[in-house]
């Protein structure tokens, strides 16, 4: 996940004024990466020419009948199980509404009998966030608005592309357990990691294959929940954090001015950093759900569920725990390595005897997510051992590592080819003596306990060795000389 935020809002304090608390629940739609749509054989493909992946079923033409996609059903159940949900016998339902993004004038979804219920997801710090349900539904077509500057409420007319209509989705409805924008960010990041680990979606927020809607309200501590607003159009983790913070402050301002919060859907505008209400008809949701008569219930057997459970790999929370235990760090400290998929490499290197702290430093600072592929764990362990034994300085090790990633080479050979040899202690000592002789004034200060001048001597030695000396060894020699 390249999307990072510098927010310093730590759970559970959202940094709000006047004792206000934020209550957040997220609804995440995730497009399943099946070959075909949920109820027809049209390709499930992003970026095709408009209206080229359509057929009588997904266009809602009379006489057409939907048949559920086996892979979509399996993926949805796998996601449910990965979220510790109970997979229940389930029924598809029609959600009736009039809007041109659904040519049938209803969306096939699930209502009172969803596939997955009552699960949870664990944040890196161990807090569990409840999942109410994760149900299967079909995606809608894409409408775009032409005229009036392209803004929806000024549109001259709308254009509709049904390529996305019928693409399989799972909607994951989280409980209102989140208390800060940072927790919300972690929840979405964790959900994304799980989805990627079980390979049911590419979960790209920017491309819309993972879409987040946020319900947010504010209250004073220990008071009942306030009126919530739903925020849409959150296209990145950064947008999510900014929008939640803005919306909570907007609601607090209203309440402190003696006004009230009106329950409504608001759209986040990334450019102006605010949420806006859309002009919409004042009409309560009334979707007149009823069981979809064209589809039969899903009722997975115990064998089917066992096979699904067996297909789930070790999940990020367990991987964090495994690395944390091996490296002697906390699961939060192990999170970055797991998020970047570098934990297997780190574990193998530690297993091979490499110093855990040095391994974690390289994994966190000197390797990118896609760079582990060319790196052999034994070679990586070898490099770390060369570093800890003093054969290579930290700077040299970093350079050798970069070349190992580049060429897949072996650390000893690369270090030799670069002329990186551990400097003889004798050679280093004479350079240190040279440095002392070159600046007697600074040396007097150093001997008087002024550590600030250390840099002058280290700098001298580094310059003379073109940066190849071990700074720590130089400092140690200086101390020994000063001690007499």
């Amino acid at each position: 996940m390249t999307d990072t935020t510098t927010t310093d809002l730590a759970a559970p304090d959202a940094g709000l004024p006047g004792g206000w608390q934020m209550v957040i629940g997220l609804e995440v739609h995730c497009e399943l990466s099946t070959a075909t749509k949920l109820f027809c054989g049209c390709p499930n493909q992003f970026g095709s020419e408009p209206n080229t992946n359509v057929c009588p079923v997904c266009l809602g033409l009379p006489g057409s009948l939907p048949v559920a996609n086996d892979a979509a059903v399996t993926y949805a159940m796998r996601l449910g199980r990965a979220l510790h949900c109970e997979v229940k016998p389930s029924v598809f339902a029609r959600k009736n509404y009039f809007y041109p993004d659904q040519p049938k004038d209803y969306q096939i979804s699930q209502f009172d009998q969803p596939t997955n219920i009552e699960g949870w997801l664990e944040l890196p710090d161990g807090i569990r966030i409840g999942i109410e349900r994760a149900h299967i539904e079909e995606d809608t077509g894409k409408t775009s608005h032409v005229g009036g500057g392209g803004r929806i409420h000024e549109a001259g007319y709308s254009l509709v592309d049904y390529n996305r209509a019928g693409v399989p989705l799972v909607e994951i409805v989280g409980k209102a357990d989140l208390r800060t924008p940072e927790q919300a960010r972690q929840y979405v990041a964790e959900l994304r990691s799980i989805i990627l680990a079980i390979e049911v979606s590419d979960a790209k927020m920017e491309e819309g294959s993972m879409r987040v809607d946020a319900n947010v309200s504010v209250r004073k501590a220990d008071e009942p929940y306030g009126t919530r607003c739903e925020i849409k159009n959150l296209n990145s983790l950064r947008s999510l954090v900014r929008a939640l913070d803005y919306e909570a402050r907007r609601q607090i301002e209203l309440l402190e001015d003696g006004e009230r919060v009106i329950q409504q859907t608001r759209h986040w505008d990334e450019a102006d950093g605010r949420t806006h209400t859309l002009r919409s008809k004042e009409e309560a949701d009334d979707y007149r759900y009823f069981a979809e008569p064209d589809l039969v219930p899903l009722d997975p057997s115990a064998e089917t569920l066992a096979a699904i459970d067996a297909s789930i790999p070790t999940l990020p929370a367990d991987r964090r725990q495994a690395l944390a235990t091996a490296a002697g760090v906390t699961p939060v400290e192990a999170a970055m390595a797991v998020e970047r998929g570098l934990d297997d490499l780190a574990l193998a290197a530690i297993e091979a005897g490499a110093n855990p702290a040095r391994v974690m430093t390289h994994v966190e600072h000197n390797l990118a997510a896609d760079e582990a592929v060319r790196l052999d764990a034994a070679n990586f362990a070898g490099l770390v051992t060369m570093e800890t034994s003093g054969e290579l300085t930290a700077t040299q090790a970093k350079q050798v590592l970069a070349e190992m990633v580049e060429t897949g080479g072996e650390p000893g050979a690369i270090a030799a080819a670069r002329g990186f040899e551990a400097m003889e202690t004798g050679a280093l000592e004479s350079l240190v003596d040279e440095a002392i002789a070159a600046d007697p004034e600074a040396w007097a200060k150093f001997c008087a306990g002024d550590a600030k001048v250390t840099g002058a001597f280290v700098g001298y030695v580094m310059k003379a060795t073109k940066g190849q000396a071990d700074g720590k060894a130089v400092t140690e020699l200086l101390r020994r000389r000063a001690a007499g």
Binding site: P50, P100, G156, V296
Partner: protein, 100 residues
């Protein structure tokens, strides 16, 4: 189902279905729907305490198809059925408000 359907109920359902009904039509349909509901009440009178609820008249479940691509329709043929099109897309009146 114990209360007869009211004229307001019918007006609300008509509104949801985007049907514009005259006052006479509202009276007419209220009467007709009441008769339909009255008929359903005959079913309600049956003792079904021992019958498990079903979502479907057939005792079937897990009917699925393999995840294999089938040919889609020709776009010109599809768009040829629409009253108005533009740039390979269906052209519709301006959409106000948000998708539900």
């Amino acid at each position: 189902m114990s209360d007869p359907i009211s004229r307001d109920d019918v007006a609300h359902v008509a509104d949801l279905a985007r049907l514009r009904l005259t006052d006479d039509e509202l009276d007419h349909f209220t009467e007709q729907l009441a008769a339909v509901l009255e008929h359903a009440r005959d079913v309600e009178a049956l003792d079904v305490a021992d019958v498990a609820p079903t979502a479907h008249p057939f005792e079937l479940s897990n009917i699925t198809r393999p995840d294999e691509v089938r040919p889609s329709l020709d776009r010109d043929e599809v768009l040829g059925q629409a009253p108005s099109t533009e740039a390979g897309q269906f052209r519709v009146p301006p959409v106000l408000g948000e998708a539900p």
